[in-house]
Every structure is written in structure tokens, then in C-alpha cells.
């Protein structure tokens, strides 16, 4: 086996891991947006999920409880957003920004006692035979459970949205909330549930970062991944399958940047660190330039305030 091929396995494995938080957060936000709500607070929910997950895992010694706590914390933040935008009819863009700003501060406050504390890595899967396969074994059969959970969430979300009655109703609410309301569907309740789901997924994404990917707590650990997840939803034109594609693409860019640094190619590391953000801008441009496609796929009520009397 050549040296390049031997490198491919770890790169593939690292790419899948790097794609996992994006996958969680973007799938959650996709469901939220499908219900007609734009929650720009993904970054904030992710950070609070990361710090709460980490804190609980350190206190209890259980990473499973950590993930649950991360999801719960993300959902709690999302509930705040839901109360403001759905019950008090606040502007969704402004409230989402507020959620992120609040989350950055809150996570730093909660996490101040947890900086620099080491935590045991989450054990990876081992299937005798399969995990030992050359090149792809470790990447496909040697990851930890969260990676597979994120992958499984892709068909699950797709199935829910396009093959169940509840998914159909959720999409109807997102396309035309007035018509859905007239048909007797509880617009606010459905949206609130979608927002909670999105928050839990963002919280999981954060907990994956602090418990597994890094694994440690540092202020601003998500480093803009919440915003990249938001861009991924647009990139995917609100289709779950394409979120997977986008997440892998970004996982690839993140890893490529690290490996270029590792190979000693003479580009300053700070400039390489720009790559994921620049890539986000570029794919956003490529997708958005097709105005008709965006208009066709974006939920028609996205970001609009709903009040039954108005």
C-alpha cells in the first residue's frame, strides 16, 4: 500500500467527523426553516449546548448524559427564541442575532470554571473485521456513535418531511401559514415544536464539538460553524440529502486546510484558516445566483410573522 493511500483513511475519517456538527445543526435548522421560521441563533444555541454538554459530562462522568444535556440546553435556548418570535411576534432576524449574542456570553459565563479541564474521549466503534479493513475501515466502521447518528438523521428528516402526514403539515405551515391556519392547523404550536427540534439539534452539534471533536471547552469553540450550517441550508436548497453533500464538502475543506498545514506547504496558517469561511461565501454565491431555484425551493412564509388576526 502506498503512503498516499495510507493517508486517505485518516483523512476520510477526519472529514466525516468534521462534517458531523454541521450535519446536526443544518438538519435542525432545515426543519425550522421548512416550518417558515428563520432562526439565526444557531451559533448561540450550539455554544450553549457545547458548554452545558461538557459541564454535565464532567460532573457525571457520562458523555451520554452530556449529549442529552447539550440537546436540552439547545432546546431551552430555542424555546426563548420561540416565545419571542412566535408568541410575542418579534422580528425573527433580530431575535436570532440576539440569541447568538446572548449564547456567546452565556456559554462563556457557564464555561469559565471548565476551561482547560480534560475529558475522556468518547469511545469509537469497533467491529472486528470491518474496522480492520484497509483504508476505509476506520473511516466507515471506526467512528463514534454520534457520527452515525448524524448520518442516520439525514434519511430520517427526509422521511419525516416528505413521507409523513405531520411532515406535510409542517411544510404547509411553512409555505402558507394563513392557509394552514384557515384549515385548522395550529401554526404557532407546529412552529414552536420545529424550533425546539432545531435547538436540540444545534445543542447536539455543540456537545459533539466539546465532548468528542476537540474534546474540551474553550470560549467560542464553535468558531462560526453555526453560521456555516445556516449557509448549508441555503446551499442544500432546503433538501436534506444535499445538506449531507454540503457538510462533507465543508468537512473536506476543513481537513484539507489542516493537512496542507501539516504537509509544510509554505502558506501562513492564518490565511489557510480563512478557507472554510471563504468556501461558504463561494458556495452561497454559486447557489444564490440562480434566483428562480431559490424562489422555487425556499419556504414561502420563511421569516414572516404570523398573527391569527392580522
Amino acid at each position: 500500500m502506498s503512503a498516499e493511500l495510507a493517508l486517505l483513511g485518516p483523512i476520510l475519517a477526519a472529514m466525516l467527523a468534521a462534517a458531523t456538527p454541521l450535519l446536526f445543526a443544518a438538519l435542525g435548522e432545515l426543519v425550522v426553516e421548512k416550518s417558515g421560521v428563520l432562526n439565526l441563533g444557531v451559533e448561540g444555541m450550539m455554544l450553549v449546548g457545547a458548554v452545558c454538554g461538557f459541564a454535565v459530562a464532567v460532573q457525571t462522568g457520562s458523555s451520554t448524559l452530556g449529549f442529552v444535556a447539550g440537546a436540552a440546553a439547545g432546546a431551552g435556548m430555542a424555546a426563548l427564541f420561540g416565545v419571542l418570535t412566535l408568541l410575542l411576534l418579534a422580528n425573527q432576524v433580530a431575535t436570532g442575532l440576539a440569541l447568538t449574542l446572548f449564547g456567546v456570553g452565556l456559554s462563556a459565563l457557564i464555561g469559565q470554571g471548565f476551561v482547560g479541564i480534560p475529558i475522556a474521549d468518547v469511545p469509537e466503534l469497533y467491529i472486528p473485521g470491518l474496522t480492520d479493513l484497509p483504508v476505509i475501515g476506520k473511516a466507515l466502521f471506526g467512528q463514534d456513535a454520534l457520527v452515525y447518528l448524524a448520518l442516520a438523521a439525514v434519511p430520517a428528516v427526509h422521511w419525516f418531511l416528505y413521507a409523513t402526514r405531520k411532515g406535510l403539515i409542517l411544510r404547509a405551515v411553512g409555505e402558507n401559514h394563513a392557509a394552514a391556519h384557515a384549515l385548522g392547523y395550529k401554526v404557532v404550536r407546529i412552529r414552536f415544536l420545529a424550533v425546539l427540534f432545531g435547538g436540540a439539534m444545534s445543542g447536539m452539534a455543540g456537545a459533539y464539538l466539546s465532548l468528542d471533536y476537540t474534546p474540551m471547552w474553550a470560549e467560542g469553540i464553535s468558531a462560526g460553524r453555526g453560521w456555516i450550517a445556516l449557509a448549508l441550508v441555503v446551499f442544500a436548497t432546503w433538501k436534506p440529502g444535499r445538506v449531507l453533500l454540503g457538510a462533507w464538502l465543508f468537512g473536506g475543506v476543513t481537513i484539507a486546510q489542516l493537512h496542507v498545514q501539516g504537509l509544510g506547504i509554505d502558506i501562513p496558517s492564518q490565511l489557510l484558516s480563512m478557507l472554510p469561511y471563504l468556501a461558504t461565501v463561494i458556495v452561497l454565491v454559486v447557489i444564490s445566483r440562480d434566483v428562480a431555484r431559490i424562489r422555487l425551493n425556499a419556504p414561502a412564509s420563511l421569516g414572516k410573522v404570523f398573527h391569527p388576526d392580522a
Binding site: L84, G105, V281
Partner: protein
């Protein structure tokens, strides 16, 4: 659900427009009281250290103006954009680029400056910020890409660019390995306005920006177009207003002001280039813009309040050992409460079940 009900007012309440920011501040203070108490601090002492003690000296008041300066400069520009539904959240990056461009000149002409250097730096700072904002403007107008996401992504790019420069070209040649530049020479530093404080010429620029922002929005046709586009884009389309022009204008303007803010920091209180120019002024300015009701005079007041949250956070950290992160929590809470209470502007809260009466649609 029928216990509490929102009933549309026929017309937005003017009184509530002014009352809700005060209500939000009061609710934030009340929550702060509870938060400090829950964290095991004496809440009265903590709130005093946070919000009152810093204002008890001339130096403290000066620091308030120093911190309010970049916030007001950024927020004036952002608010004009927000009015037109142009969501520039890249003020942090534009501020950084202003510092990079203006500060770069100070370093390039180190030892060979003159009276012309400072004006040139100011122009360069504004141009740097405007150029950085021109990227999301171009991508939005030409390719329909969301300026929210592109401007935000560019914040991270700007930060990495600054980091690169501080570890490379901008680093002090005699400063060993520290990522800091030389101290700017006297002809590259903004003059102080008040003896005994650090209040610099930038504060005057901020006041000018407040006046100019008010004039633009209240007295010019462009300001009128901005407001119409923000309120009813379709009407603006029928009236033949050029939306693309407004996107360009609002982004370039807010970028230039943010760039000026960044230049004001490095040529003002900091006096050199370093990797941590801003403690998040560009993000806090978003809160300032909303808290100030997107109105220049309101922004001036809100800028001082938010500046207080920065210096109060530092003072409370020193006096009581409160964690610095509490500043961000306060800022986020304030915006939450403001957005929550804003419902009172257009709706009345009613208790009990709905009464069937005829009324005009809101």
C-alpha cells in the same frame, strides 16, 4: 392560550416606542439582580460596581465616551441599513479592515510622517471598511447572496487576516515574537479632546455621524427611499426606487463608518496594531442600533449605555472578581427584553377570552 391575548392596536403606539427601551433596561437590571444573587454575589454591591462606580470619576466618564465612540459609529451605519432591510452584520470585520488599512499607513510611514499622515489614515480607514462591505454588497446585488451570511463570514476572514498581519508584516521588528506593532508616532495618533481622559477626536466624528445620519434619514430623498424600501418593498418597486443602489449605499456607508471606528481604536486608545482591536464592538453595535430604535439620537444614548456595560464589566471584574463574560450576558438579555416588550408597540395585551367587536384591521 385564551388567558393572555394580543390584540392589534389600530395604530402603532408612539408612547410605547419610547417606553419599551426603558422597560427593557429595567427588566435587565432586575434579571441582573437575580443573576448576581444566584451566583452568590451581593446583588446591590455588584450592580453598584457594575453600573454606578465606573461613572464616579472624570476618568470613568471619559472611558464611557471612549467606548461609546466605536459603538455609535458602527451602529449609525448599521441602523440605516436595517431601515432598508439590509442586514449588515459584518461591522466587526469592517472595523477590523479599517484598522488594518489606516494602521498599515501609520506603520508604512513610520519615521517619515507629517501633518498629512493622520488625515490620510482616516481616509484609508473608511475606505478599508467600505471595501470590505462592498463584497457583500456586490454579492447581494449581482448574485442574490444573503448579505447576512456573507458579511458574517467576512468577520472571521478579517480576523484571520489581522492575525496573519500581526504575525508577519505588521509585527514590531524590535518586539521579539510578540504579535504587536510598533507604537504609532505622534503624527499618527488622534489628538485628545479632554485633558485627564482618553477621549479623542474620534468621539467628535461619532457626534458628526449622529448629526449626518439624522439629516440623511429625516431630511433627504435618499433617506425617504431607504424607509419606503424597508417598510414596503413592493411600493418602492412601483415608485421606481432603485433597490440595488440603496443596498450599495447602505452597505458602503456602514462599512465606512465601521472602518472609521476601527481606525479610531488603533489611532486612539490603543495607539498601535495588535490582534485584539475590538472586544466585539461590531456585534454590540447591532444591539445599540435596535436599542436606539434605529434613530441616530436614540443610538447615541444606547451607545453610552452599552459602553457602560463594557466598562462596568471590567470594573466589576476588578472589584468583585465577577467573570468578564457577564457583559455579554447583560447585552444579550437587554436585546431580548427589548424585542419582547416591543410587542406592546403594535399590540395590546388583553386578559380573558376574545370579545367579538368590529374593528379595523391592523
Amino acid at each position: 392560550m385564551t388567558l393572555l391575548r394580543l390584540e392589534p392596536r389600530g395604530e402603532a403606539s408612539r408612547a410605547m416606542v419610547y417606553a419599551t427601551p426603558l422597560l427593557a433596561v429595567a427588566l435587565t437590571l432586575a434579571s441582573g439582580f437575580l443573576l448576581f444573587w444566584a451566583m452568590g454575589f451581593d446583588p446591590v454591591k455588584a450592580l453598584h460596581a457594575f453600573f454606578i462606580a465606573p461613572l464616579m470619576s472624570l476618568r470613568g466618564l471619559g472611558e464611557l465616551a471612549v467606548k461609546a465612540t466605536p459603538l455609535v459609529l458602527c451602529a449609525i451605519g448599521l441602523a440605516i441599513g436595517f431601515r432598508a432591510n439590509v442586514w449588515n452584520i459584518g461591522a466587526e470585520g469592517q472595523l477590523t479592515l479599517g484598522a488594518i488599512a489606516g494602521g498599515g499607513l501609520a506603520l508604512a510611514f513610520y519615521g517619515e510622517g507629517g501633518w498629512w499622515l493622520l488625515p490620510l489614515m482616516i481616509v484609508a480607514g473608511m475606505a478599508g471598511g467600505a471595501l470590505w462591505a462592498a463584497i457583500p454588497a456586490f454579492l447581494r446585488v449581482r448574485f442574490n447572496a444573503s448579505e447576512i451570511l456573507t458579511s458574517l463570514m467576512l468577520n472571521y476572514v478579517a480576523l484571520h487576516l489581522l492575525n496573519y498581519l500581526m504575525h508577519g508584516p505588521y509585527r514590531d521588528p524590535d518586539g521579539f515574537a510578540f504579535p504587536e506593532s510598533r507604537l504609532f508616532e505622534a503624527d499618527a495618533v488622534l489628538p485628545l479632546l479632554v485633558a485627564g481622559t482618553r477621549v479623542h477626536l474620534g468621539s467628535l466624528f461619532a457626534l458628526l455621524a449622529v448629526a449626518a445620519g439624522w439629516f440623511l434619514m429625516a431630511r433627504t430623498f435618499i433617506g425617504f427611499q431607504i424607509k419606503v424600501i424597508g417598510l414596503t418593498p413592493t411600493a418602492a418597486g412601483y415608485a421606481g426606487f432603485n433597490q440595488k443602489k440603496i443596498i450599495w449605499l447602505t452597505l458602503l456607508l456602514s462599512g465606512a463608518l465601521a472602518g472609521l471606528a476601527g481606525l479610531g481604536e488603533v489611532a486612539g486608545p490603543i495607539g498601535q496594531m495588535n490582534p485584539t482591536i475590538s472586544p466585539g464592538y461590531g456585534y454590540t453595535a447591532i444591539i445599540v442600533a435596535f436599542l436606539g430604535r434605529l434613530h441616530p439620537v436614540g443610538i447615541l444614548l444606547a451607545g453610552f449605555l452599552m459602553a457602560l456595560s463594557f466598562i462596568g464589566g471590567e470594573a466589576a471584574q476588578i472589584a468583585l472578581g465577577l467573570p468578564k463574560a457577564i457583559t455579554g450576558v447583560f447585552q444579550g438579555m437587554l436585546l431580548f427584553f427589548l424585542l419582547a416588550t416591543d410587542v406592546l408597540i403594535r399590540y395590546r395585551v388583553r386578559f380573558g377570552a376574545k370579545q367579538v367587536v368590529g374593528r379595523a384591521a391592523a
